[in-house]
Amino acid sequence: MLLNQFLILSAVLFCIGVYGVLTRRNGVMVLMSIELILNSVNINLVAFAAFREAIPGEVFALFVIAVAAAEVGVGLAMVLLLYRNRRNIDLAGIDSMKG
């Protein structure tokens, strides 16, 4: 197996995630697209760990998984707060902090 096939797969998944973050207006969908991005980064880290036959890449991927779990918890709490205050979670309507 080539290293490149994993790297390009993760690049494709990353850009699909970026597309989701940019186009979707539902707060939960944006969080899910961010999960896609973090996951593609994990594939990259583990591919490089296998390439160099080194453990730290895999440990770093585990840390990324833990940070993603924390991020989803806080993010969904924010979406719920948004829903309670505005009765919808349309991110396009949130501009009250616009300068």
Partner: protein
């Protein structure tokens, strides 16, 4: 009869390295195709619950990739944490905010074109630099990494980041409770 059994036993011989390589590449292609299609469906589908289920497919495919790369512990953690916990959290989030969304087509389509441009640019630039840097770098890991190695690494070299992660998780726990709590 003996000849038949002998051929059966010979069929159980360990695969040659060429056969393993072909099998790995076939599995890589299949999983990668499924992952990319599911990811595309996830970001384009109208139904949010379906999007969460497509995300499950992508995450399971990523676990398969980790196994192909010889990182078993990361693959198992991926299934436990992502598919087991995070997806359930997402489904709860979808359930609690259900029926709250309507679409405005015009603006979405305008942003759509820019978003496609940005993502195609990202994938072109990163893939170009990957192909340029690691032209035909081979992955030839001899043995998968063991959980013991990862444990040694976490509790040795990476003990301070590990403790920082535990504090971060506690902070996220308290923070999400404070944010989502109904004020009395």
């Amino acid at each position: 009869m003996t000849g038949f059994f002998l051929s059966q036993i010979q069929g159980l011989d360990p695969l040659t390295s060429d056969e393993v390589l072909v099998a790995q590449n076939v599995f890589f292609g299949l999983i990668a195709l499924v992952m990319i299609l599911a990811a595309l469906k996830m970001v384009t589908t109208e139904n949010i619950v379906h999007a969460a289920l497509y995300l499950v497919i992508v995450l399971a495919g990523a676990a398969g990739m980790f196994i192909l790369l010889g990182a078993e512990f990361v693959a198992v953690t991926q299934i436990l944490v992502y598919i087991g916990a995070i997806i359930v959290l997402f489904l709860f989030g979808i359930m609690l905010t259900k029926g709250s969304f309507g679409t405005e087509e015009g603006e979405l389509r305008e942003r759509n074109r820019m978003a496609i441009l940005v993502s195609v640019l990202i994938v072109a630039v990163t893939s170009g630099s990957f192909i340029d840097s690691f032209r035909d770098a081979e992955l030839n890991r001899q043995a998968p990494s063991t959980t013991a190695d990862i444990g040694d690494s976490i509790f040795g070299q990476f003990i301070i980041p590990f403790e920082a992660i535990s504090v971060l998780l506690l902070a996220a726990l308290i923070g999400s409770v404070v944010i989502a709590r109904r004020d009395q």
